[in-house]
Amino acid sequence: MTINHYIFLSVALFCIGIVGVLTRRNAIVIFMSVELMLNAVNILLVAFSKMHYLAAKIINPATQAGIEGQLFVFFIMVVAAAEVSVGLAIIVMMYRNIHSVDVNFLNRLKH
């Protein structure tokens, strides 16, 4: 497969995530859409790492070019897990205070 297949796949996934964030009002579903966007970027990083590996492998068969891309994906996943834990704690606080997870009720700053 060429790289443009992967680019268009991750662009489509990212836009689905954006539509989810913009249209849904449920805080948990918004959170899931953010996870979808993160995963779109991850797919793209892995695809680019394999593309650079192929280009470098022709010159030197024992190369490890592109391995950083996969390591970045690993760190993104790990940081995403920390982000999920703090974000869910915030959602639970929101539920305790307003007894709902609808972000439309978070409009105190307007009044």
Binding site: M1, T2, I3, N4, H5, L9, V11, A12, C15, I16, G17, I18, V19, G20, L22, T23, R24, R25, N26, I28, V29, M32, S33, E35, L36, N39, N42, I43, V46, A47, S49, K50, M51, Y53, L54, K57, Q64, Q70, L71, V73, F74, F75, M77, V78, V79, A80, A81, A82, V84, V86, L88, A89, I90, I91, V92, M93, R96, V101, D102, N104
Partner: protein, 167 residues
């Protein structure tokens, strides 16, 4: 069309379809279930690129995290009532339009660039294996590794401070 191409298109269709179901399901429980399907298909993509370690990490981390999300949905939602009282239908419409405009702009901008025809190495290649990734992680990226443990310490403290009731 080889078996790799067939698998790629099959997994792509599954990823995009289940991602659409995540955001368009009325019931948040269905959204969580479709999200799990999406993550498993993304793991399939990683296996197709021979990024085996990332595929397994994706399953373990996101299966754990998403199961917790699922627990939250069950705990927090009032499943009897219709959730999401829609206030503004036009706002929803505008969001969908904005997202598809972004998709249109990105596709139109990237469609004719030169570097797009480069091949991606499928199925083989040793850089995705756990041995090579581990060597690079513990030799060259030792400092980010330690910093991530500090990040986790702060995440634990933050979770307890935000989430603990009282005191």
């Amino acid at each position: 069309m080889g078996i790799t191409q067939i698998l790629f298109w099959f997994l792509t269709a599954l990823v995009l379809g289940s991602a659409l179901m995540v955001i368009f399901s009325k019931n948040p429980v269905h959204s969580v279930l479709w999200l799990i399907v999406t993550f498993f298909c993304i793991s399939g993509h990683y296996i197709l690129l021979n990024a085996q370690f990332l595929a397994i990490v994706n399953v373990i981390v996101y299966a754990g995290a998403i199961m917790v999300l699922f627990l939250f949905v069950v705990m927090l939602m009032n499943l009897n009532a219709e959730t999401e009282p829609q206030k503004n239908k036009w706002l929803k419409f505008a969001g969908a339009i904005a997202g598809s405009c972004l998709l249109l702009v990105l596709v139109a901008a990237l469609k004719d660039t030169d570097a797009m025809r480069q091949e991606v190495l499928m199925k083989t290649g040793d850089i995705g294996l756990i041995h090579n990734l581990g060597m690079v992680l513990f030799r060259d990226y030792l400092l980010p590794f330690e910093i991530s443990s500090v990040l986790f310490l702060s995440a634990m403290v933050g979770t307890v401070v935000i989430g603990k009731k009282g005191d």
